[in-house]
Amino acid sequence: MMLDAILDTVAGICLIAGALLCLAAGIALIRFPDVLSRMHAAAKPQVLGLLLVLLGCALRLRTGVDITTLVLVGLFQLATAPVAAHMVGRTAYPHDDIRRDLLITDELSDHIDRIRADRAGEPQETSPVHTS
């Protein structure tokens, strides 16, 4: 079957590319200097990496039931990854773990107190952890 061979090849390429992106993410996680740049590594290359792996699986499996599940995995990953990254970034921000010498500019430092004070005023939202 010609078509099967082509689909399998494309699936293989997708799987390998996705795995390589995840490897890059792992390397970045070890090598990047501070928590914020590590978050880029931890949260991001997987987005494309995972999508490629899912695409590879879908091309290999080729059954409706499996593909719908894979679509859902992708959708929920896309919807939740930014939330997780944002929560970590928000807790990490005003701390000493951040390498200020590597920051070109910091346009948040002047506003952070006002934003967090605003948010504390809104009872519906949980305020972030304050450590002083």
């Binding site: 390397i27 499996d66 990254a85 920051l103």
Partner: protein, 200 residues
């Protein structure tokens, strides 16, 4: 949820929001089962109705309509950004030097919860940019960007985000929001944009 001086949602708006939520929930339900059958759709409707009664959604206004062509343009450009930025971050990871970064404030022009959320999601999904804070009172996103080397690149990133906002508003925004975005095309000096976002 009081930071926006806005008229409360009308009855019609609320029913429309519920209809959109039910459609989304039923779609997820059918996808989870994996096969399309009327039994799945009906049971999905029941589950969606129960969910909406037990966990009512916050009042997010979807003021616009979905425009297919701009939406497609947004999706294609998003995938392109995703691939390019993934490669860039992967390259940064294997390079020997520590990458420099910047925390950049981007005041969005359309200050609605939905627009803020969609922009933050799209930015967060693309490697190299990470949302640290979102200020709802001014509609400003504070973005941590990796691989920035100069103040020039800071400005370039800022106008890049404003272009992203324009693509998003063109895809799902209302007509007023679109004209608001189109009117203030990010070609002027970025200093004035900065002042808008600054507090008093």
């Amino acid at each position: 949820m009081t930071s926006q001086p806005k008229a409360p949602l009308t009855r019609r708006d609320r029913w429309r929001n519920r209809a959109i939520a039910v459609t989304g929930l039923v779609t997820v339900w059918v996808l989870l089962w994996g096969t399309f059958s009327w039994a799945n759709v009906l049971s999905g409707l029941v589950v969606a109705a129960v969910l909406l009664v037990v966990f009512p959604l916050p009042p997010v206004t979807f003021a616009g309509r979905i425009r297919p062509v701009p939406l497609l343009r947004f999706v294609v450009r998003f995938l392109y950004d995703l691939v390019v930025a993934s490669a860039q971050v992967a390259w940064l990871a294997v390079r020997s030097k520590h990458p420099q970064s910047a925390i950049i404030a981007v005041p969005l022009r359309v200050n609605t919860d939905l627009n803020l959320t969609l922009n933050a999601e799209a930015l967060s999904l693309v490697p190299g940019s990470l949302i640290l804070e979102a200020d709802r009172s001014t509609g400003t996103l504070y973005v941590h960007v990796i691989g920035i080397r100069s103040l020039d690149e800071v400005e370039r990133f800022r106008s890049g985000v404003l272009e992203l906002e324009e693509r998003i508003v063109a895809a799902v925004g209302s007509a007023e929001e679109l004209s608001l975005v189109r009117r203030s095309v990010p070609t002027g000096p970025s200093g004035s944009v900065d002042l808008e976002g600054a507090p008093t």
